[in-house]
């Protein structure tokens, strides 16, 4: 009889095992590790950010307010109205193949790659978008053409790469996956560091006096991918069948601040055990 119970126990554990191992797949995120190596440096002595960077498992992604008390953004009345508009009258611009821009890409759970040269730092994103940040001493122009990433100017402050961005679009933009808004008054200052070999970190200051009553911060750390990991081709409008089936807004937001159903109904049980 004990054998029968042992069999039951093993069967239950086997049912769990694929789930556990599935979660161990480093498809887009990686478990965190402690690094024993310092950050590398370029020939010029700057911090070397080159690499393929992935989410750290357990990070709350997609929510630009994650570091605020109660994750509550300091919206102005105009900002609140813009949020309600996004929730009830707009389809996620990214799903319509529109660039997510800054700072949305920093809140994403998707990996990105950095290619760095002496006077330029280039971020390559999962959806085949990129931003090339000049780090050559130039200043902001007087009236930059509005864009999704804004006019981005880089400079070094010691080992920190500071990216100052202005000149943003104010239509067809969500500031994060949860449909929070930003206006054309957005000003973003990113402070990028590489605390050790395995990690890259950003501390972001977000100012938008039209939609937010005060500036706020968003911080995030990513972990280095494996040496052979890189981005693949991704043509967003190749076959965007889903576009005509999407509703407005991101859907529900869960208590942990991420989008999705709180308690979806389960699928029918699998028909056969999963094969190894």
């Amino acid at each position: 009889m004990k054998i029968a119970y042992l069999t039951t126990a093993l069967a239950i554990l086997m049912l769990c095992a694929p789930h556990a191992s599935a979660q161990g797949v480093d498809e887009l995120a990686r478990a965190d590790v402690k690094s024993s190596k310092p950050a590398p440096r370029t020939a010029e002595g700057h911090t070397d950010f080159n690499g393929y960077w992935k989410s750290i498992r357990g990070t709350i992604t997609g929510n630009i307010g994650k570091d605020l008390p109660g994750m509550k953004l300091p919206l102005t009345p105009a900002g609140e109205a813009a949020l309600q508009h996004n929730l009830t009258a707009t389809i996620d611009p990214e799903s319509l193949c529109i660039i997510g821009g800054t700072p949305r890409h920093n809140a994403s759970g998707l990996p990105f790659e950095i290619v760095q040269s002496q006077k330029k730092v280039v971020f390559l994103y999962f959806y085949s978008y990129y931003r090339a940040i000049p780090v050559d001493g130039r200043k902001h122009t007087e009236d930059p053409d509005p864009s999704f990433f804004g006019e981005e100017i880089g400079r070094w402050e010691g080992d920190t790469l500071v990216v100052d961005s202005t000149g943003f679009k104010d239509e067809k933009v969500w500031i994060d996956e949860n449909a929070n808004p930003h206006s054309d008054a957005l000003h973003v200052v990113e402070r990028w560091t590489r605390p050790d070999f395995e990690h890259i970190h950003v501390d972001t200051l977000i100012e938008d006096s039209k939609f937010y009553t005060k500036p706020f911060h968003y911080a995030r750390t990513w972990i280095l991918g494996q040496p052979d990991e890189t981005l693949a081709e991704y043509s967003c409008s190749e076959n965007n069948v889903d576009q005509s089936h999407l509703g407005f807004g991101p859907g529900g937001i869960r208590p942990d601040g991420t989008r999705g159903y709180i308690d979806p109904k389960p699928l029918p049980p699998p028909v056969t055990p999963a094969k190894k």
């Binding site: 119970y5 694929p18 498809e27 989410s55 990214e94 967003c236 190749e238 999705g260 699928l267």
Partner: protein, 144 residues
Amino acid sequence: MHARFAAFTVLIAGGLLASVPVVRLQAHHSFAAEFDGNRPMRLVGTITKVEWTNPHSYFYIDVKDDQGKVTNWACEGGGPGALSRRGWKRGDLKLGDTLIVDGYLARDGSHLIDARRVTLPDGRIVSGASAGDGGPQVPGTTNP
């Protein structure tokens, strides 16, 4: 004694599940913006078309109901990159093969489901989910 042992077993299994870190990533769009989490369903049908494309892969299956009426359904999966990383290759889907697709119905009620869990003709059960769409986790697959 036996009951206590069984309860212990369930506790251990539950503990293992609970200890698995939850991953929240972002996909091309939110699962909840397209699919109804309260309308899971199973389709069994033969493959009529395969689109191994971005931002999603689609495969289409003919499903026969109890009255013999055949309806063609679209099944939405992750892009080729995501599916390939899970060991699912384009050649795994051949026209005329039978698939079992467990997923969620589109919110607009069209013949479109989220290919959350797919039982391939060779018996493998794979996740077809779009990586990090915020949709339900599905035990027994390489669901992201």
